[in-house]
């Protein structure tokens, strides 16, 4: 298993995972979210092609109520 940080918390994922497959496990499909990998935004068009590696830092954000 690969260990990476998602939203600041350690998470284990299967080797060979990419951003798109990770999103599927987070039940975010069909929702609006944005992904930042090691400080760089990963555009939606690149999710499937972006492979995740051990030690990656991932941010997954959504829109919430705010003023």
């Amino acid at each position: 298993m690969l260990e990476l940080q998602i939203n600041g918390r350690p998470q284990q994922i299967p080797p060979g995972s990419n951003v798109a497959s990770l999103i599927a496990t987070l039940h975010l499909e069909g929702r609006r979210y944005a992904i930042e990998l090691n400080g760089e935004i990963v555009p939606k068009s690149r999710h499937a092609a972006t492979t995740l590696n051990h030690g990656d830092q991932l941010e997954v954000v959504i829109a919430v109520g705010g003023g």
Binding site: I6, N7, G8, R9, Q11, L26, H27, L28, R31, R32, Y33, A34, I35, E36, I41, P43, K44, E59, V60, V61, I62, A63, V64, G65, G66, G67
Partner: protein, 266 residues
């Protein structure tokens, strides 16, 4: 122009026209259904949202804010609430742009501290420059300092949004004189953002010539948010019409009868 034409003149921000001059936030409501109902009652077309980390594994299948308020029906204005540095604010809004499919109209706010939520203007200026250079249309929360407002305008911000009073305080417009200078000098829309407490505050801002008003807590934390949303809609419209109509001159020491002074029976 006649009255209907004056009233119909839209609010133009970042090249897009809006009928409503009331912008509302989506925070502090009981649930998403109440959020949606209040926003519908307000008539707002531009609504602010915050960008936050998703709770991993905790909200699978739960509805999300944007399902209740789809970008196809509203102009979503992502904010940088909670950001204390230019770096964090720029990072947040780049994520927001990705989340909203390239949407570039944003609300920049860089806060100095969590107690007063007063804007940190040096960081705000740095972030505004970077965002404008990166193609964002920046509506910027700022102090009610005419010099800062002018600098933000020169940087290329799409709208300046001075506070009426502290965010969430409901204290109304505390420095109308500064606000008036900002409105008089600005060539971009001026919105009062933060501090509105009740309908008369919104009406006063619009009567002074503000182009629009942005609020959240005044509606969300009213005892009846839907009724307050409706009140705010009317207040903004009434204030706008009064501004366009042009108020009568104030006569501080001299009364002036409205009825004829001739033909009195005694």
């Amino acid at each position: 122009m006649n009255a209907p034409e004056l009233i119909a003149e839209p609010l133009v921000i970042g090249g897009r026209s809006y009928r409503s001059r009331l912008l509302v936030g989506t925070g502090k409501y009981r649930d998403f259904a109440e959020t949606r109902a209040a926003i519908d009652a307000s008539g707002a077309e531009i609504i602010t949202v915050a960008i936050r980390r998703v709770n991993i594994g905790q909200n699978a299948g739960e509805p999300s804010l944007l399902e209740y308020l789809p970008p196809s029906q509203f102009t979503i204005l992502p904010n940088t609430a909670g950001c204390h540095t230019a770096k964090d604010a720029v990072r947040t809004l780049r994520l927001a742009r990705e989340l909203l499919d390239g949407h570039s109209l944003v609300k920049l706010e860089v806060l100095a501290n969590d107690e007063t939520l007063f804007p940190n203007m040096p960081e705000t200026l740095v972030a505004a420059k970077e965002l404008v250079a990166d193609g964002f249309q920046v509506m910027v929360y700022c102090t009610d300092d005419p010099v800062q407002a002018r600098v933000l305008e020169e940087i290329g911000c799409a709208a300046v949004m001075p506070l009426a009073s502290l965010i969430g305080s409901g204290m109304g417009i505390l420095n109308p004189w500064n606000l008036e200078i900002i409105i008089d000098r600005a060539t971009v829309p001026v919105l009062v953002d933060a501090g509105i407490g009740t309908a008369s505050d919104a009406a006063v801002a619009m009567e002074m010539g503000c182009d629009a008003v942005l609020m959240n807590t005044a509606i969300a934390k009213a005892k009846n948010p839907l009724l307050m949303a409706s009140a705010m809609k009317k207040a903004v419209e009434a204030g706008r019409e009064a501004f366009l109509a042009g108020r009568m001159p104030k006569k501080i020491y001299q009364g002036s009868p409205s009825s004829p002074t001739e033909g009195k029976i005694s």
